[in-house]
């Protein structure tokens, strides 16, 4: 019997981004349940993986590792930064986190909500930014919808802690980028609030890997 049921949950907490990444990769590779997705790819999946990076100093390390492979070209940090901080939507992308955070149907969730809120009440539990919008993303024929559903910002012990909820998370290609995007947004907010960045936590609802990635994951885990 596969160890697979919908309330399955795993919590991983590591000091660095690299260690956290390797731990979640190892966990899903060893414990994930196999299934075939709609594109006929063999996947391994675990539901509700919570991963916390305590110290963000090496936040770009997983991307550096991914970029060392010659078989693909990983997006640059500059492009990743603009994907979350650029306020203008771009026709080149099916959706855009930056425009959803800073200009969601005219609402600037960061400058007009998060910053004043946390300035006024640093202990607030309402520091939420939403990327997913039912009016935009629940259309049956909609091709692409945001993977990162929302982010939450809490100031505790004078540090800004960020939590990001990801509905569908490719742990190999996607997670390294998601934590960097979360970091860039947290960095923007922390500078405005004059606080340090604390931890970054990801909650991956469907955490998965694809068969063609296994070879590279094994290389990464055994190096």
């Amino acid at each position: 019997m596969p160890r697979y049921f919908h309330t399955y949950k795993m919590e991983i907490k590591e000091k660095t981004a690299e260690k956290t990444w390797k731990s979640i990769l190892k966990h899903v590779l060893e414990n994930g349940t196999e299934f075939i997705d709609r594109k006929n790819r063999l996947c391994k999946e675990a539901l509700n993986i919570v991963a916390t990076i305590e110290d963000t100093k090496d936040i770009t390390k997983p991307i550096e590792i991914l970029s060392s492979f010659k078989k693909w070209v990983y997006p640059s940090l500059e492009e990743l930064k603009s994907s979350i901080l650029e306020k203008e939507d771009s026709p080149g992308y099916y959706y855009h986190y930056g425009s959803r955070a800073f200009n969601y149907s005219g609402i600037n969730q960061i400058n007009d909500y998060i910053l004043p809120l946390l300035k006024k009440d640093p202990t607030s539990k309402r520091g939420i930014v939403v990327f997913y919008g039912p009016e935009k993303d629940t259309l049956p024929l909609k091709k692409e919808t945001p993977g990162m559903v929302m982010m939450n910002f809490n100031i505790r012990n004078k540090k800004l802690h960020a939590t990001v909820v990801i509905r569908s998370n490719d742990l190999f290609y996607g997670w390294p980028c998601n934590i960097v995007q979360a970091y860039f947004l947290a960095d923007y907010i922390s500078r405005e609030l004059n606080v340090q960045i604390g931890s970054i936590t990801t909650i991956s609802i469907s955490a998965h890997l694809f068969e063609e990635q296994f070879e590279y994951i094994n290389k990464i885990l055994h190096e």
């Binding site: 693909w72 603009s82 203008e88 080149g92 099916y94 996607g174 694809f210």
Partner: protein
């Protein structure tokens, strides 16, 4: 700073790359003059001289440089600055600072091949900030004025070709005089700006009354910047016999190249620019949204396969590696295009706001092969096709991996690469053409084993070149339109070639039959 020079710089600031004197003239001195009028011609020449005076000043100051000659005496100029360099001028009129910079060309793993002449960028100056081709759906355009406006917007964002799909809709719904004027205007602007237009016409949908006069303009050698592509199948050859006869007669008389799309081979869009043919993937064409206009091709790189042979031989692995490097270069270019798409393509995207997201949804990058040796003596054709096929697999794998990565990173985007052939005009540095002409003198030639074999080889190449391939039948000897119609029927029925053309240049006397 002098006001005229400010305006010149302003246009370079808005459009970046290379600009013709014609385009500068329109921008700096306002609306176009009526070229039929002698006074207007004189006035236009005066303005041209005035403009050149200011351009020369900017050249002297090291801001602009002459880049090439265009048609009708037009010259092209480009910014004389390197990447990351900026020109800053203070505007006296607007009390503001004008800063012009050139888009940073990312480091690309093809530079060695470029030095060797194996890889050539199509339109280097505007390789990143303009699209190769844009399609306008005439069905969605309700008037000639609207089409004119769309054309004006599209011409400023492309560096090769605009396709006017379903042009028969424009022919059928408007006065023939207006359509003729439109064709003349489009042709004239294409000459000024060094661009091309393809009008696709489904012959089964043409309103004959309007079309026959327009046809004379279409077949005329004066309108050589506007290509007409006639879509037909064998049924149309039978049913539209009279109109097809008129079309063939008009082209034969002028000895003008005529393009056909074989509806039996494809439902999808096929057209030509000066770089080569363009197409949309069949499946994507069937599922496309009902847009007013969309991009078909983003950037093109031309691979001179002849030069590759001379340096590396027929090495499949090295060729596949080269194609992978080409793909990586497209990725870098597309990244910049995507991020700047609102600036670069604003004029056309803003005309169809509801479909902004779909504007780049069908577009591909083009690898165009030149002298790819399929009919070269001494070269194993199967090996050449294998080499291209192997490279195609790698390109597809790479493209798919990149789409997966971008999607996983929350930046879902399109990254597709098409393979096609290049036309000689695509780049002046290409090696001299080494293609064997497909010559036919009559119907019986199409049954000759040698010619059938040659056509079948071209047909196989068409199946590999998924971005479009043009197969030209060089028609020799005397001929009549009826016989050519029979040849057309055979080609359409026997071969799966989506796009082909008849070249009547080498023909002798034409026996022209009239059926109307």
């Amino acid at each position: 700073m002098e006001e005229t020079r400010e305006k010149i710089i302003e246009l370079f600031k808005n459009k970046g790359s290379e600009i013709s004197t014609g385009e500068l003239l329109n921008y700096v001195y306002g609306s176009k003059t009526n070229k039929d009028n002698a006074d207007s011609k004189r006035e236009s020449a005066q303005m041209h001289r005035k403009l050149l005076y200011h351009i020369n000043k900017l050249v002297e100051n090291g801001i602009l440089r002459f880049s090439r000659h265009g048609e009708k005496g037009h010259k092209f100029f480009a910014l004389d600055i390197g990447e990351n360099e900026e020109i800053t001028e203070f505007s006296s009129k607007y009390k503001r600072k004008l800063t012009v910079s050139k888009p940073l060309m990312p480091l690309m793993p093809i530079e060695t091949y470029e030095h060797q002449g194996i890889i050539n960028k199509f339109e280097t100056e505007s390789w990143i900030d303009r699209l190769n081709s844009v399609v306008i759906m005439c069905k969605k355009v309700d008037s000639i004025d609207k089409l004119n406006a769309l054309f004006e917007s599209a011409i400023s964002v492309i560096n090769d070709c605009i396709c006017l799909e379903n042009f028969e809709d424009i022919i059928n719904k408007n006065k023939k005089e207006d359509v003729i004027k439109l064709i003349e205007k489009i042709n004239s602007e294409c000459k000024d700006y060094g661009k091309q237009v393809s009008c696709t016409i489904d012959i089964s949908k043409i309103n004959k009354g309007n079309f026959l006069e327009i046809l004379q303009k279409a077949a005329s050698n004066e309108t050589n910047k506007v290509m007409f592509i006639y879509s037909l199948d064998a049924h149309d050859v039978q049913e539209q016999f009279a109109i097809l006869n008129e079309i063939l007669v008009a082209y034969m008389k002028k000895k003008k190249l005529i393009y056909f799309k074989n509806k039996r081979a494809t439902n999808s869009l096929q057209f030509v620019g000066s770089a080569g043919p363009y197409s949309i993937l069949e499946k994507e064409w069937e599922n496309k949204k009902d847009c007013l206009s969309f991009a078909c091709a983003q950037s093109s790189l031309i691979v001179d396969v002849e030069k590759f042979y001379s340096v590396y031989g027929l090495d499949t692995e090295k060729f596949a590696q080269l194609m992978l490097n080409v793909s990586k270069s497209f990725l870098s270019a597309n990244t910049l295009q995507r991020r700047k798409s609102k600036d670069y393509f604003k004029s056309i995207i803003s005309l169809d706001k509801t479909n902004e997201k779909e504007f780049l949804e069908l577009s591909r990058n083009y690898i165009r092969f030149w002298n790819y040796g399929l009919l070269q003596p001494g070269i194993d054709q199967k090996l050449v096709l294998n080499m291209i096929n192997e490279a195609k697999k790698r390109i597809d794998e790479f493209s798919m991996a990149e789409e997966t990565i971008y999607k996983s990173c929350g930046m879902p985007t399109r990254f597709k690469i098409a393979l096609s052939c290049a036309f000689k005009e695509a780049n002046e540095k290409l090696s001299s053409a080494k293609y064997k002409k497909l010559e036919i003198t009559g119907l019986e030639d199409l049954y000759k084993p040698k010619i059938r074999k040659d056509i079948m080889e071209k047909e196989i190449a068409s199946s590999v070149l998924n971005g479009g391939n043009d197969i030209t039948f060089h028609r020799k000897g005397n001929f009549d339109s009826q016989e050519i119609m029979r040849e057309l029927s055979i080609i359409i029925n026997a071969y799966k070639m989506p796009l082909f053309s008849f070249n009547f240049e080498g023909s002798g006397d034409a026996k022209i039959l009239s059926y109307l």
